[in-house]
């Protein structure tokens, strides 16, 4: 029985484990170590994964889910999901409990279900490679993932039949991989620019203790945005040549997006990219239209400079929140494939005033840390455990709605977890018999400017004048970053502990059903692994 660490990425995922005190990364079926985070569905119930699914983005874009992490744990009506819908070729719909669900060819799938299928595939890859069963996993998440996003990630793991030992913050995992066993005393910054998210985290490393001092980021800023910027450049070139906007055609868009990603990679190594893309779209006379392009790196850089500068601005804010200047950072670690873009490295170096570390593989370092922590947790209690202690923090403030449309904070941002805080509230009306406690995440004083997480109701309050009832509201955030809320009427002692009803999440029943369904599907055999050459 093995435990693994999984970096469940927006674009790619990596799975690793510890063998004989060494981290081993599970190779992908087509070579390399990155498993594209793509799942493709067919009407006969077959699922395709990884590179094979990537190829299906072109032939069957409607049934091929990518960038699912961007939708994880978000209600259908959230701005993020609505924004994503405009550029995703697959169909999303509102399901139970405000969830966003993917409309597949055979049925609908919740987002944790789709991710669960992917995790199940990764698990099978690991089991084949290790010749061993995989039972438990540490799954990494962006540090600023909120409570609902973390819960959705745990649900995905459960659906894949995994015991989720921990959801671990990606930058903390990277720091662990970097610093463990080095016996250092350093203040480090982890600059994590992935496919879909950006995070900046500052840690103090003292021997085997890793203390997160501050963390912050942007859940909707990543390399995918650079791909979109390049897609627009390519589309404009195409329009200039053929007088036709390929963005109105889904298949053309899918082709251009994949090309854009390749052009981006090429421009990381070379000052210009030129080439020809055949069969982009069909012209008025039914002829196939091609695109000849020539893009210089500086054209690309001009298009994405704004995105990169947003990361520097966020970095400044996070450092300032703990009273640090960039010059007080001893080492900068780069994480995420987007840090391969030369302009990103140059701007990071300029801001921190020192070259970032490049000796760690930015794609794999998070999975390394996750594998180490999985081993750590699975064997905690016996002597096999490594000695690392991870002291993490809450990424956002947590509070509840109070009268007047305001949010009253209960737990601050960037406080060490676990944390338990209680505040006392009262009723706003005479003879009020129940209170609805609406929970939110964010720093704004106004409730509606924060992210609503869910609510719970405390009823059975005996008649009293307003202001004369004392209601204790207790928030507890554990080391997974998961919130539990307790409300108690201090006068009667009536308490209500809730697993807050999370907006946009799966219910326990739904998760249990999905677990069963996945088990029965799994027994029907391993996913067929096709020849991966289809793309090139």
């Amino acid at each position: 029985m093995s435990v693994v660490g999984i970096d469940l990425g927006t674009t790619n995922s990596v799975i690793a484990t510890v063998r004989d005190a060494q981290v081993v990364v599970v190779p992908a079926t087509h070579g390399g170590y990155l498993h594209p985070s793509v799942v493709s569905f067919s009407s006969d119930g077959l699922k395709y994964f990884s590179r094979e699914a990537v190829a299906r983005r072109i032939v069957d874009p409607k049934n091929t889910v990518y960038s699912g992490k961007r939708l994880m744990g978000l209600p259908f009506r959230s701005d993020e999901v609505q924004k994503a819908i405009t550029r995703l070729p697959y169909e999303l719909r509102e399901g139970n409990n405000e969830q966003a669900v993917f409309v597949g060819p055979d049925r609908t799938y919740t987002i944790p279900e789709v991710s669960g299928l992917l995790l199940g595939y990764l698990r099978q890859c690991a089991e084949l490679f290790l010749s061993d069963t995989v039972t438990g996993a540490v799954i990494t998440v962006p540090a600023n993932f909120n409570d609902a996003q973390r819960r959705a990630t745990i649900d995905a793991g459960r659906i894949a039949g995994l015991d989720v030992l921990r959801v671990l913050n990606e930058p903390t995992a990277a720091a662990l991989a970097y610093g463990l066993g080095q016996n250092m005393s350093q203040r480090i910054a982890v600059y994590d620019f992935g496919g879909g998210t950006f995070d900046i985290t500052v840690l103090q490393v003292e021997g085997d203790v890793f203390e997160v001092l501050a963390t912050g980021g942007d859940t909707f800023l990543g390399g995918d945005d650079m791909d979109t910027a390049l897609l627009n450049i390519l589309a404009e070139l195409f329009r200039a040549e053929h007088g036709l906007d390929p963005r109105t055609d889904q298949a053309a868009c899918a082709r251009l997006l994949i090309a854009a990603e390749q052009v981006k990679r090429h421009l990381s190594d070379f000052p210009e990219a030129r080439g020809e893309l055949k069969n982009i779209a069909v012209g008025n006379q039914g002829e196939q239209l091609a695109l000849r392009f020539h893009i210089a790196r500086n054209v690309f850089e001009t298009a994405v400079r704004g995105l990169v500068m947003r990361t520097i601005q966020t970095s400044q804010e996070v450092l300032a929140s703990v009273g640090l200047a960039a010059s007080q950072i001893d080492e900068v670690i780069l994480v995420g494939g987007t840090t391969r873009v030369p302009m990103v490295r140059a701007e990071v170096e300029r801001y921190f005033g020192r070259p970032p570390r490049t000796d760690l593989n930015p794609d794999e370092v998070v999975a390394w840390g996750a594998a180490i922590q999985a081993e750590n947790l699975a064997h905690a209690g016996d002597n096999l455990a490594s000695r690392a202690v991870l002291l993490d923090v809450t990424p956002r403030a947590l509070g509840i709605a109070v009268t007047g449309g305001f949010a009253e904070r209960i737990v601050d941002r960037n406080v060490p977890v676990p944390v338990e805080q209680t505040r006392i509230f009262t009723t706003s009306a005479d003879q009020q018999s129940s209170v609805r406690i609406q929970v939110c995440q964010g720093e704004s004083r106004r409730f509606d400017e924060n992210v609503p997480l869910g609510e719970l109701e405390l009823s059975g309050i005996p008649p009293a004048r307003r202001g004369e009832v004392a209601i204790e509201v207790t928030f507890r955030v554990d080391t997974d970053g998961i919130l539990r809320v307790r409300a108690r009427d201090a006068t009667t002692g009536v308490a209500r502990e809730a697993a807050v009803n999370v907006r946009g999440g799966m219910t326990d029943v739904e998760v249990a059903e999905a677990v069963e369904r996945h088990k029965s599907e799994e027994s029907s055999g391993l996913p067929e692994i096709l020849d991966p050459e289809i793309l090139e």
């Binding site: 030992l165 449309g405 676990p418 509230f425 009306a429 018999s433 202001g467």
Partner: protein, 182 residues
């Protein structure tokens, strides 16, 4: 490697859990009240090495782990407050009052006792006072009107906007239950 065996841990948790509310942050971290910030950090790292819940993740006893988490959360709270100079000063005052924990109400600088003191403009203050009287009579319409008048003289006073919000919310759903800070 955990410093405590499961039996030692159980004995420790048993002993600490019952008296948690009687221990100061200094007691929890095992330092004296004059300890420097860097020494407090070192003490916290030492305690974390022994007591961080991750150390005991694989233990089966849920109740024990739950209690350990409660104890360790309090230690984290102490670490945080004692390493922030303003909060440490506030904690010194709380301790002098016999409080072992710095609660939110002690921690945040609360609104002034008389809310209208934050309003500068005299006319705004007058209408605000009228609005408060209307609010007291549950005349939410009148209250909203007066707060709006007050706001026309001083648009950025938080207290006016807050009370206006309250009056409008009450107008929206009369008698609807809400929850508020005391």
């Amino acid at each position: 490697m955990p410093a405590l065996t499961p039996d030692q841990l159980a004995a420790f948790v048993e002993q600490m859990y019952g008296k948690l509310d009687r221990l100061s942050y200094y007691d929890l971290l095992g330092v004296s009240s004059g300890t420097s910030q860097s020494e407090i950090r070192a003490a916290f790292y030492r305690v974390s090495n022994d007591l961080h819940p991750d150390r005991y993740h694989a233990l089966g006893d849920r109740n024990l782990k739950e209690r350990l988490e409660t104890i360790y959360a309090r230690i984290c709270e102490g670490y945080r407050i004692l390493t922030m100079p303003e909060k440490r000063a506030a904690y010194a005052r709380a301790l002098a009052d016999g409080k072992m924990r710095l609660t939110s109400t002690d921690r945040e600088s609360r609104a002034p006792q008389n809310p209208e003191d934050t309003i500068k403009h005299d006319e705004a203050k007058k209408f605000f006072r009228l609005g408060m009287i209307s609010l007291g009579r549950k005349d939410f319409k009148g209250a909203a009107m007066n707060f709006n008048f007050a706001r026309s003289f001083e648009p950025n006073a938080a207290i006016i906007n807050q009370k206006l919000g309250e009056a409008q919310a009450a107008l929206g759903k009369p008698g609807g239950p809400g929850i508020k800070a005391p």
